[in-house]
Every structure is written in structure tokens, then in C-alpha cells.
């Protein structure tokens, strides 16, 4: 990401050269006069942000959790430690912390604390509950390459699955388009918080991701028009990148010297060009080892990097390659056997991939699994030990926290409990690797947004009102 600096500078220069909207409004379209400058919407600009995050942290008060066991995801378990949340950040963490005047002090009584959990593979909001035809908004399955679509434009913030994920301790999710297409469009990284709009959930400063898919899904969906084979899939990716590379060069040249009419803007190529510039992270749905190896070569051919392989039920077969190429593996704890390309799924996948040195992530791709990622990680930890791999719990917690944050490009803000990071924190009733443990409280940016002890403050989406009964049976 370091190499992006010159491009960003160039972006700012390009911005400065643009006329203000006021000036544009005054420019009358007349044949005799010079061609008016292009509007902002005509410019394919790196790191453009036309749907900016409007997220604001919820009100919080300084809070100290003490007498807690802390999985920091940044080092060993802190036994009987304490953490101070202040102004939305982790202000202090250790054996003890100073308690500011007026701080809320919660004595954990030996309970456990982790960072807010992060799911790299969610379809919340784009495939909401209840599942109705009207809300099947996750796959723009109209063409094999739909790099022009953005998942955020399908997100329904009233999906009742959001509060249920939060209640499971999941505070950040990447919402991806589905896997029908070779290139499915942009993903969006969301905070799992109540909002009227998706913009109000967007993780400030998170880079965009882009979904690609290997294997059976695209060739099945497009069997009649192509691609209908795996070789057709790969030809499809390459054709898209060839077009995108030409687009990127055209635009980078114009942005360096923005005179005359800009090149025509194309939303799909714009996203692909941003991948080539390194500004958008590639999330590649791919099950089989051999196909992942081919995608690594496609990426090298066009000079982009794959940030994470998703599903990767055969990641364990090429875990050394993933480690070498610095590609993370977003994988299930124990899914397999539901189609040909998933037949080699094993429960030790996470453990084997981890010990080979690859950045390993336990993901969900399922709204229910996403509400208990701790259990999924725990199953993987147990399977690793059964396979003879001795992985400490302090490492396993990273599968659902800091490693996931890295895959989403937000590991400087979240994913571990370290001073200065966002105060996304979960208090658990016990060790999160136990089946009996439940979340008790969940903070996002220091604000208490879930409290199992206080049902009256529970986030209920608009949809739930009058439809979904409360614990008392009242709809």
C-alpha cells in the first residue's frame, strides 16, 4: 500500500484543477464558447468516494472493564487485567488501568474480553431475513463481469440479521456481492450499528473490496452464454483485466494532465483500475487449490494482488504458497461436501493453513454462523489439536479479529485491543472458546450497543416492530 502515495498526491492535484460547482453552474452551454469543464461525475478519480460514510460513533462514557481475562489478539492472554475505553478508543490496557473520574467501572469477575469480532464474508443486508424474492439483492447475475455494481447499493439497513450479528459480538463485517459472477462488484465494510442508511454504517476510511469468483458458480450460472467452463472463467478474468489496464493508463494520463475532454468514464473499469492501482482489495471466492494457484498467476500477469481467498476449502493444500504470496485465507471451520469443488473440505483446514504461516481467517458466509464466530474458531482450534497441531488460543482468536481486519485493510483501526485503536470490545460470560459462553456486552467505538442484561435497550430494526415477537411473546 505504500506505493500508492504518489497516486494519492496526484489525485489531490487533479482535484485542485477542477472548477468549483458554482463556476460550472454559471457556464452557459453555447457552441461559440469553450467546452465547459467536466462535472465531478465525469471524472474517474482514484479513491473517489461518492457515497461517503456518515457514520458517527454513538454516545459513550469512559468505561473500565476490570478483573477480566483479555484476549488482545496482539499478544498473550492478560489474566485478571483491565481495559479503559475512552473517547471511542482503547485508552489503556494491562494488568491495571487508572480509572478516570466519572468512569463506569465494570467488574468482570473473571469473565473474558475480546476485540469486536470481524467477519470478512457477509451478505447481511443484501440477502436479508426474512428471505423473500424482493430482497434477493446480492447477485447481479446478468453478466459474468459486473465490476460496476456496488454491494452497498443493495444493503437494507433494516435487515434484522444486523442486530443478531452484533449480539454475537460481531462488530465489523464485509458485505460482498454473491459468487454468481467472475467479477461480482464492490464490497463494502460496515459497522454493525443501527442506521437509516447504509452510509451511516460504512466503516470510515475502510478501503473498498472487490469480489471475484472461481469455479462452479459462474460457469453454472452462465452455462448457456458463457463462460461454461473453468477455462472460460479464466479467459473472462483476463479479458476484463486487459480492458481495465488500458482504461487505467488512459485515465492516469489524463489525471496527470487534465486538459481537454476527459476519457469516457466506465464504472466497471473504474473499479478494476482501482484494483490495479492498489486502492481496492481483491476478495476471491475460490474452493480448489489448483484454481487458487491459477488466480495467483492471473494476478501476477496484471500486477494486482489478492488480499484474501474466500471459502478456500482446499487452502490447506497450498497454505505454504498463500504464506509466501501474503494472501490471507478466509475459510469455514467445517463446511464441505456440498458440491464437487467442496468435497475435500476438512475440519483441520484452518489449523493446517495457520501453521503453514498463512494469515488465516474463520469467516461465515452465513448470518447464523456470523453470530457465533467464536464457536466456529473454537471448532477449528479443536480440529487442529486433533490433527496434532498445537495452536494456542491466543493465536486462534486472531482468526476472527486482527487477521480479518488485515484482510479488510482496517487492521490499524480495529481487530486487536491495543492503545489507540477503536474501542470495539466484547465482554463474554466465560471463555469465548467454550460452547456455553455468551456475549454479555458489546461496545462499538466505546459505545455500549448490546447489553444482554437490558432487553429494553435492545436494537430492534424497523422490520421487527410488530412482526418479530420479543422475549415476552409481544410482537
Amino acid at each position: 500500500m505504500q506505493s500508492l502515495r504518489p497516486l494519492l498526491t496526484l489525485t489531490l492535484a487533479g482535484l485542485a484543477a477542477l472548477p468549483s460547482p458554482v463556476l460550472r453552474a454559471q457556464a452557459a452551454p453555447a457552441a461559440a464558447k469553450p467546452t465547459p469543464a467536466p462535472s465531478a461525475g465525469a471524472i474517474s478519480r482514484p479513491n473517489a468516494d461518492p457515497f461517503p460514510s456518515s457514520y458517527q460513533p454513538f454516545p459513550s462514557r469512559p468505561t473500565v472493564l476490570r478483573n477480566v481475562n483479555i484476549y488482545t489478539a496482539a499478544g498473550p492472554l492478560i489474566r485478571n487485567g483491565a481495559v479503559l475505553l475512552r473517547d471511542g478508543k482503547i485508552a489503556a490496557i494491562g494488568a491495571t488501568v487508572d480509572v478516570p473520574v466519572g468512569a463506569l467501572v465494570i467488574d468482570g469477575g473473571g469473565k473474558f474480553v475480546t476485540p469486536g469480532l470481524i467477519d470478512t464474508h457477509s451478505h447481511l443486508g443484501v440477502y436479508p431475513a426474512p428471505g423473500t424474492a424482493a430482497h434477493q439483492d446480492g447477485n447481479e447475475a446478468t453478466a459474468p463481469v459486473t465490476a460496476h455494481v456496488w454491494a452497498e447499493h443493495s444493503v437494507w439497513p433494516q435487515d434484522p440479521q444486523f442486530p443478531r450479528n452484533l449480539a454475537g459480538g460481531t462488530t465489523t463485517i464485509q458485505v460482498l456481492p454473491g459468487s454468481a459472477n467472475l467479477i461480482g462488484g464492490r464490497s463494502v465494510t460496515l459497522k454493525v450499528v443501527p442506521s437509516r442508511s447504509v452510509q451511516g454504517m460504512k466503516f470510515p476510511g475502510a478501503p473498498y473490496g472487490m469480489k471475484m469468483a472461481c469455479g462452479e458458480n459462474p460457469k453454472r450460472v452462465y452455462a448457456s452464454r458463457g463462460p461454461s467452463t473453468r477455462m472460460g472463467n479464466v479467459a473472462g478474468y483476463r479479458a476484463a483485466w486487459i480492458g481495465a489496464e488500458a482504461y487505467r493508463r488512459r485515465w492516469d494520463a489524463w489525471l496527470a494532465n487534465p486538459t481537454g475532454d476527459p476519457p469516457a468514464r466506465d464504472l466497471g473499469n473504474e473499479t478494476l483500475a482501482e484494483v490495479l492501482r492498489g486502492n481496492i482489495l481483491v476478495h476471491n471466492h475460490c474452493y480448489q487449490a489448483d484454481e487458487m494457484m491459477q488466480m495467483v498467476d492471473v494476478a501476477k500477469e496484471f500486477g494486482y494482488t489478492i488480499r484474501s481467498f474466500h471459502h478456500g476449502v482446499e487452502a490447506y493444500k497450498i497454505a505454504d504458497v498463500l504464506a509466501r504470496e501474503n494472501i490471507s485465507a478466509s475459510i469455514w471451520s467445517d463446511w464441505g461436501g456440498f458440491k464437487m469443488e467442496s468435497l475435500d473440505g476438512i475440519k483441520a483446514n484452518v489449523g493446517l493453513t495457520h501453521v503453514a504461516g498463512a494469515r488465516t481467517i474463520v469467516h461465515s458466509d452465513d448470518p447464523s454462523y456470523a453470530s457465533r464466530l467464536n464457536q466456529e474458531a473454537s471448532k477449528s482450534l479443536a480440529a487442529a489439536r486433533t490433527a496434532g497441531l498445537n495452536i494456542p488460543a491466543e493465536e486462534a482468536i486472531k482468526w476472527i479479529t486482527i487477521n480479518a481486519a488485515w484482510a479488510l485493510g482496517i487492521d490499524r483501526q480495529v481487530g486487536s485491543l491495543e492503545v489507540g485503536k477503536n474501542a470495539d470490545v466484547v465482554l463474554w460470560s466465560g471463555d469465548p472458546f467454550s460452547v456455553y459462553t455468551r456475549t454479555e456486552k458489546v461496545w462499538v467505538d466505546g459505545a455500549l450497543l448490546f447489553d444482554r442484561a437490558d432487553a429494553s435497550q435492545r436494537w430492534r430494526t424497523d422490520f421487527e416492530l410488530g412482526y418479530v415477537p420479543t422475549a415476552g411473546g409481544i410482537r
Binding site: 428471505g131 461436501g337 464437487m340 473440505g345 452465513d366 418479530v468 415477537p469
Partner: protein, 430 residues
Amino acid sequence: MRRTLSMIRIAAVAATLPTLAGAQIVAITGGTVYPVSGPKIENGTVLIRDGKIAAVGSNVVIPEGARRIDARGKWVTPGLIHALTSLGLSEGGSPEFSGGYSDGRARGGDGIAATFDAWRGINPANTFIAPTRQEGVTSVGVIGGGGMIGGRTALIDLVEATSASAMLRKAPTAMLGGFGEPSAGTGARDEYWDKWRRLLDDVKAYQTRRAAYETGSTRTFETTQANLEALVPVVMGQLPLMLDVDRASDILAALEFATQYNLKLWLANASEGWMVAKEIAAAKVPVFIGAMSDIPTTFDALGQRRENAALLRAAGATVVLIGIGTSGGTDFNVRNIRQEAGNAVAYGLSWDEALRAVTLAPAEVMGVAGSVGSLQVGRDANVVVWSGDPFEFSTTAEHVLIQGRTFDTKSRQQQLTERYLTLPPSYRRP
């Protein structure tokens, strides 16, 4: 029909006998024994002779020559029963994996496949069976599907076998009913129930007038003679009817329907069961439910919550836990029934009740409690020795006995794991 099935059962027993030749005695000693039928026994012994439990207790004399399993520090329970699976019927979710057949789904006629016995389509070589057994599941219910009536369900033991009949413990266990327009071929709720009523009226009429039917002197019945015949045990209240309903009002409608026709009803899924728990308990209708979803997945399951099992049990209903939340959509994870049980505990069910809900409760409901589901003298020795609490992730099933036998064949998943423990793999078999 019943005669045929009992013959199969005899064949199944006969098939297992050769491997049990010679009195084989196994003594599981020193463990904490959870018989389920009674209180736990510290430092207990489970003695197994010829595939049956010969003794359970803290003062059991161990015969000379017994094979000993040291269970000190371990937990000993009955083998787990997952009552609602399609294990063995599909290898990869596609008919291509099974000679073009979807063995879990009959086409039936007019949505009625009452004679369909899905278990006959089980492939004993299915690769999901061994991993399921290795995690302590010793028996599974096998259900099909296919329409308004999706055939008869069965219970099998997860023994290594070459034929489905050699795995069979009981068939049939219930008649499976579908719900909802696509499966029933009806467009409205009342049309669905009306179709049932007309069908069962036909069955009753047929049952009392078989001779007249043979001579063609009855009125026309809406389904085939084979279907009518298969449904006779249902209207007699002998073969349970399993209905898959979620909405509270639909559950009440099902209860009313069962009362009207004197049916033995089982409810599957029952997402909103907790809202009508008293009525379900009063009707003595068992529920087959999960404990891990709180998502309003459909408009009929808006009230779905994880406390469903605990609330239904508290109201006095019989709860059988099934792995809805853990299957990942396939039988790859039938083994995760213990995760479901652990979650039921986390959401209010007592630990003892959770263990019962995956052992003795399904055995009682399916009418096999005399042979499995608990550790009692005379029961078949379906026994698991666990390294700890069976519901905890960190616990492994160290010894799994089914009818007193253990199976050491490495699963496909184990073979893959071992091959890739070192990278790159050697491709040489261990």
C-alpha cells in the same frame, strides 16, 4: 408392510452376528458414567458382552479376558442420536454423485410418496458416515422428502456395512409430511389441510372396505392403493406423522388436525413453538428442534429464538434436539449435533436435559428406548467415551462403540489431513 420390515430387521441382526462371533467382553472402567436413564455414576464401569450392556455401576466385577478401556477422567455416555438427517443419501448434494438419483427425495404422484422408504437408498460407503461416527453419533434418523407426503423415516446405526439393511435399527419410524405450497401442491393453508382431511378420510374408508375396493365397488379414492395402504398405520395412530411447521398458528392447526384424526403427531422445526408451548405439551406431541437460530428466516418463523428448546421443555414438552443450525446445509456436519446441544444449554436447557434430548428422548419418541439411548443392562452397547464434556468443542470422542464394536477405518477427511500435514505432500500413502 410391517411383516416385510420386521423380516428386514431380522436380516440386519443376522448380518451383524458373524463379526460378533465368540463372546467378546469389553469393560469401560473408571469413568464418570452418564446413563441418562438415571443419575451419573462416578468411577463407574460399563460392561459389554456380545454387543449388549451387561452391567453398569460402580461395583461391577470384570471378567477375566475382558478388553479394558481405561476411562479414568473421561465421560461415558450413550451414543448420540441425531434424529433428523439425510445421512447416506447424498454425497455432494447433486444427483450426479449418486448415479443420477436424488436419494433423499421422491417424486411421488400428486405430491404423495407414502411408500417411499428413503433409508433403502442409503449408500453405506458414503464418506460422511465415518466422520459422524468418530464424533460420537451412533444412530441417525434418516428422512426423505418429496411433497405433501415425503415417505417413511427410519433409524439407522452408523456401523460399517455393505448394505443399508445392515445399518437399520428401525423402520418405519414415522410418515413425513411436508408443509407449504410447493411441497403439498396446494395454494392455500386451508386447501392444504383440506387435502389432508380428504386423504385421511379416503384411507379410513379404504381400511374398512378393502374387499370392496378390490372388486371396484367403493367410491373413487384420490390416491393409489399403495399410498392408501401405507397410510393405514397413520390413521390407526400407530405410525407417527411428522409435520414441519413453524408459525404458532400453524402449529395449533396441526395439533387440531391430529386430534381430529387421532394421529400420533411429531412436530419438526416448530420455530414459534415456544409461543404455544403449553398446547404442544398438553397434546404430548414431541418437537424436533434446533437451538441455534434466532433469525426470522421466513415470515412463518418470525418468532424463532434460541430459547425455544428450553421454553418448550419447561412447559413439559418432549424435546428432541436436531442440528438445524450446524449442518451447513448438508450431512457433512451431522456430527455437530453436540454443538447444538451445548448451545441449548447456553440458552436455558439444563445439561442433563440436553443430553437426554440427543439420546434417550429421541429413542423414546422413536420407540427404540428398549435398545438404545441409555446405558442400562440389556441395551445395545452404543457407548461413547469422551475426553471431557461431550458438548465442548475441545472434547473428543475417544472410543465409539456401536453394538459393542469399534471401527478404526480412517475417514477420507482424515486421510486428506494426514497427506497435507507436510507441504508439499509426498503423495505416498501412509
